[in-house]
Symmetry: C2
Subunit: 400 residues, 2 copies
């Protein structure tokens, strides 16, 4: 088999942990596989470098930041290659550029445009274990670019597709995808498998195991993904297309505590008012999450949305510039978002109703509701967050 492993910052956090990764890669090799390894910077390194830059300015140039931050992954790649060689394995370390990764010009958040896999393929052909510095590439004019936080996952998935790998294993400090956060619900169960779409909802909803863009890319390029732990021998969770067997109703429950709610009452129902408001928020770099609009009975509407708690004050300021357009504002920082995710919802009704019933039984007031084909999200008072998670986990029998 041709496999791609990706190890995150905590998995390569010091020389002992790099030795641990060496063992894993060596084992995969001994089992007869061709192995390509994508690595992140040692944990703490990236933040240290950002701290240095911010000593000089809070807004360093993005091009310079890319040269600065791309150094960390090069260090890890070289060290892992040295460690494998010390054990007698033939290994080679490549930078993003040497691995053929070409991106667009969007420094610090570049998109991969193409990969020339020849250098990696040639090295595999020579029997080498190939170590690639994640998170980075170069643009067409030869400048170093980086792919944004979690970008090494993206490097791994894109490389796996480009070289035709059989699977891509993403290693972190958790051993897979759980039905919900085990720190909240001790009965949370690790999933053997989950679909790309469910995983996408889970990662954008706040489950931190896999970077969202990498799951999107894996879906698009049909890369078989595994989420595994570098500290255990657990098989992990497979993320792939839905199997032909009947899909489970609900796969997971997610709690996102980083939410603040904004509600505008009696918004003048003129065309373009929503566009004006959300354009202004976007200009101010405020990430709006859920958006709810209800038609009122008197020609005005109520408009609600959520933003990250850290952007709550900024959102307030932006809204004040619109205050002649609505009757009243209501802000609440003390909310959270609870979401139920499952591809089974597509073909089964009643999933949302069961959630609402369970909330009602526990006297939890639902402030906002938003649904997609495979997700039901509810904004509730943050003090009920954990209770809601445990209740829903129970309702959908996720421990079974």
């Amino acid at each position: 088999m041709l496999v791609v492993h990706k190890y995150g910052g905590t998995s390569v956090g010091d020389v002992e942990r790099i030795e641990n990764v060496t063992n894993r890669v060596a084992k995969a090799r001994e089992e007869g596989n061709d192995v390509v390894v994508v690595v992140s910077a040692m944990s703490g390194e990236t933040n240290k470098l950002i701290g240095f830059a911010e000593h000089f300015t809070k807004e360093p140039a993005k091009k310079e930041m890319d040269m600065l931050l791309s150094s960390g992954e090069r260090v890890t790649a070289a060290l892992l290659s040295i460690s494998l060689q010390a054990r007698g394995y033939d290994a080679v370390a490549l930078t993003g550029r040497q691995a053929g990764i070409v991106t667009d010009d969007t420094h610090t958040y570049a998109r991969i445009e193409s990969i020339d896999p020849s250098a990696v393929k040639n090295a595999i052909g020579e029997g080498k274990i190939v170590i690639v510095a994640g998170f980075q590439g170069i643009n067409k004019s030869g400048s170093v670019t980086t792919l944004g936080r979690g970008g090494s996952d993206l490097s791994a998935v894109a490389l796996a597709a480009a070289i035709g790998a059989d699977q891509c294993e993403i290693y972190s400090d958790v051993d897979g995808i759980y039905t919900t956060d085990p720190r909240i619900e001790p009965n949370a169960r690790k999933l053997d498998t989950i679909s790309y779409d469910e995983m996408l909802e889970l990662s954008s909803l706040g489950a931190k195991v896999l970077q969202n863009r990498s799951v999107e890319l894996a879906k698009k390029l049909n890369v078989k993904l595994y989420a595994k732990s570098s500290f255990s021998d657990d098989v992990g969770t497979l993320i792939a297309e839905e199997s032909s067997m009947e899909a489970v109703l609900v796969s997971g429950i997610v709690l996102d505590k980083n939410q603040a709610r904004v509600t505008l009452r009696g918004v003048a129902d003129r065309p373009g008012i929503a566009a004006d408001i959300f354009s202004k928020l976007a200009e101010s770099n405020i990430n709006v999450d859920m958006i709810i609009q209800n038609m009122g009975t008197d020609g005005s509407t109520n408009l609600g949305f959520t933003v990250p708690q850290s952007e709550h004050e900024n959102a307030k300021k932006v809204m004040e510039s619109f205050d002649h357009e609505f009757e009243g504002m209501d802000f609440d920082e003390h909310v959270c978002k609870v979401s139920v995710v499952g591809v089974g919802m597509k073909s089964h009704s009643g999933v949302a109703a069961a959630a609402f019933t369970a909330m009602a039984k526990n006297n939890i007031n639902i402030q906002m509701i938003s649904t997609s084909e495979i997700k039901v999200s509810m904004v509730i008072d943050e003090k009920y967050g954990e209770l809601a998670i445990r209740t829903l986990h129970d309702v959908y029998e996720l421990d079974k």
Copy 2:
């Protein structure tokens, strides 16, 4: 003027020191110059990375070491560029590759083969201050290479020549070249100017201010070099061709304590014996410094040489494999080398004689003597090293 500045590891050792360098570069800019800055890794970084690699093996692959070690200079280049931009200067950071530096394939000790100065020149043309990561380049197949310890000096000199800079200023924590080590002789005097050849003798003899290869390259490419301190406003020392004025007799006195002496008595006078011995030492990576051979009276010869103290034991082992070729061996780790350097010696006799006389007056026994056109070196008991330096400094009136 178009000037190249080069700042070493102690000059950019932390963010405060990078701010200090920012001030210096900004000042040169405000004075109307175009400025290209070559930087080393922050002091301690390179050793930290070497320590990581040596955790895995004492002999890491050189190609991997180059990827590992080249990261440090990239960090400094990006940070200095960010710092200059924060002050409102238009700056750009370039890696060795982006600055067009192409080397041969000798990883960890590569030679610069060519420089394509177009990227640097274009950036200067756009009014930018250009920051270049020192110590590194790429080879023709695109792998990262490094130029060996002190290689950033070499990057600076080579770039200065390639872009036709008016001068190249090498900044460190000392403010120029002294007649001898001021810690030994308080009357040591900073030289305003020194010739390339004298500087070459001084740096290869153990004066640590400028890397030897960079002085050679500066001579070859006729680059006007300044040795300056990044912590003072002293004009420093100019290293250039000898002026047309009469050269000074002696420029400096150097003490090298890292010497061990090996003497072979009664060496069989067969053709090729010296070649055999020194080839074997070279194969064992032992750096031989001085070599002295005297014809004996009975058809055999005495052969003496010096090696660094750390290689003394290895040299002993190599010599034991030749023990049938000579009558006896004599090793002494407790020696040092004292050298008198000056271009004036070329045309003046008596310089060496004055040195020998001064040694004799102080009862210092000279064990070995070696001379070149502009240098007299003497191996003596190490306990007399400092005395010899002060005596010779006085004899040649270097404090005047």
